[in-house]
């Protein structure tokens, strides 16, 4: 890896993340990053934003990686977006969480199944692993700012752990936050006569290490043991290789 260490930080991170790829794929990645390459990347994993990898719904491969979350081919840098926390304070995500292990999840409080199950799994796993939110930040961004105001968000998250951070904002700000993650805007669907509706959102939880990169994402359905095994290693700054 000495050769890689000599590269600029972004290249270094990208190359490190590519260890799991074949030598051929690494060559393509290198050529793409060199900027002069005219040939189109062969996979969407090499699309403009590394967050685009989430759209391929990467799956864990614990036998190969040693982690129960899915290891990304290319780390996702901590995204730069600003929203409002449940105390009404401006919260610049990249700045506020810099250097701190952080789980980031986008969902909405009117979602009765996947969102609370994910958050309960995180809260339960942290308790089991003996981690609190001073050691591992948990940030929940609402995909439904029209209904999720600060008060609703605060009460919702407190049911899991009152140390979880909830962020909301204008619909434009939320879309911008998703775009900073390389994700499409949330879509409203299933409107009912009473005015209620559902919202699409990414199903994965992103895990940023102390080096401000997400190399792991946790798909829905990750077991409690998987979370309990991975989270202390994330907090310790361990990098999948």
């Amino acid at each position: 890896m000495g050769r890689v260490r000599a590269l600029p930080p972004r290249l270094r991170a990208l190359a490190a993340g590519a260890v799991l790829l074949t030598v051929g794929a690494l060559a393509v990645l290198g050529a793409t990053l060199a900027g002069g390459a005219d040939e189109a990347p062969s996979t969407a994993a090499l699309a403009d934003h590394p967050g685009a990898q989430l759209l391929q719904n990467p799956l864990p491969n614990p036998e190969a990686t040693g982690f129960h979350g899915a290891v990304l081919a290319e780390p996702i840098p901590r995204p730069d977006f600003a929203l409002t926390d449940t105390d009404g304070r401006r919260f610049d995500f990249a700045e506020e969480t810099a250097g701190e292990p952080t789980l980031l999840y986008v969902g909405y409080t009117s979602c009765p199944d996947i969102c609370p199950a994910h958050l309960a799994q995180i809260a339960g796993a942290m308790a089991e692993a003996g981690l609190d939110t001073d050691e591992l930040r948990v940030v929940f961004v609402t995909a439904d700012p029209a209904r999720d105001d600060a008060e609703r968000l605060e009460r919702y998250l407190a049911a899991f752990d009152d140390g979880f951070t909830g962020l909301t904002g204008s619909p434009e700000e939320v879309d911008a936050a998703l775009a900073a993650l390389g994700q499409p805007a949330a879509e409203v669907f299933g409107e009912r006569p009473d005015g209620s509706y559902e919202v699409t959102h990414p199903s994965q939880v992103l895990a940023f290490g102390p080096d401000d990169r997400a190399r792991l994402v946790f798909p829905f359905g990750t077991s409690r043991e998987g979370w309990v095994a991975d989270l202390p290693r994330l907090v310790a700054g361990e990098v999948p290789s």
Binding site: A123, G124, A127, D194, G221, S223
Partner: protein, 171 residues
Amino acid sequence: MTRVSPWLVALALLVAAVGCADDDAAEAAPPEVTGAETPEPAAPDVAAVYATIGDPGPDGDTLVGASTDVAERVELHESVIDDDGSARMVELEDGIDVAAGEGVVLERGGLHVMLMGLETELAEGDRYELTLEFERGGEVTVDVDVVPTVGGDDGGGGHDGQDEAHGDDDG
């Protein structure tokens, strides 16, 4: 003097027997429902119900609806994760198939009953009644336990098989 043909008698008996058989089918027992639970809802207005619906018998059945006094509206839902990793919920207007010889599991991240417009605050330790309506088996009312928001393994079906993920470890 009236003579009744034995053939007519036989036909009448046959019709009666078939009629009885039809009645019996319409009154088939609903499948057994076990482990019905609602995690204490984090949101004030929506909640999910999970349960295991047992073998409905050789003809199968369909869960077509549900109702309860604790919510304004009840829908049958499935959470779906698309190929692009995005999550969404689908209302199952045709109901939930309860496979012959198997039954079906309603669990986190998959099939569930969604309660909307909660009219009663549901707290851990509470128990409420939910009536499930089956196409063939008719209605059955079950007790639903409100369990902790953060329980045992909340990872849903994933690769954990058919067993209901019942809180087996609360740390």
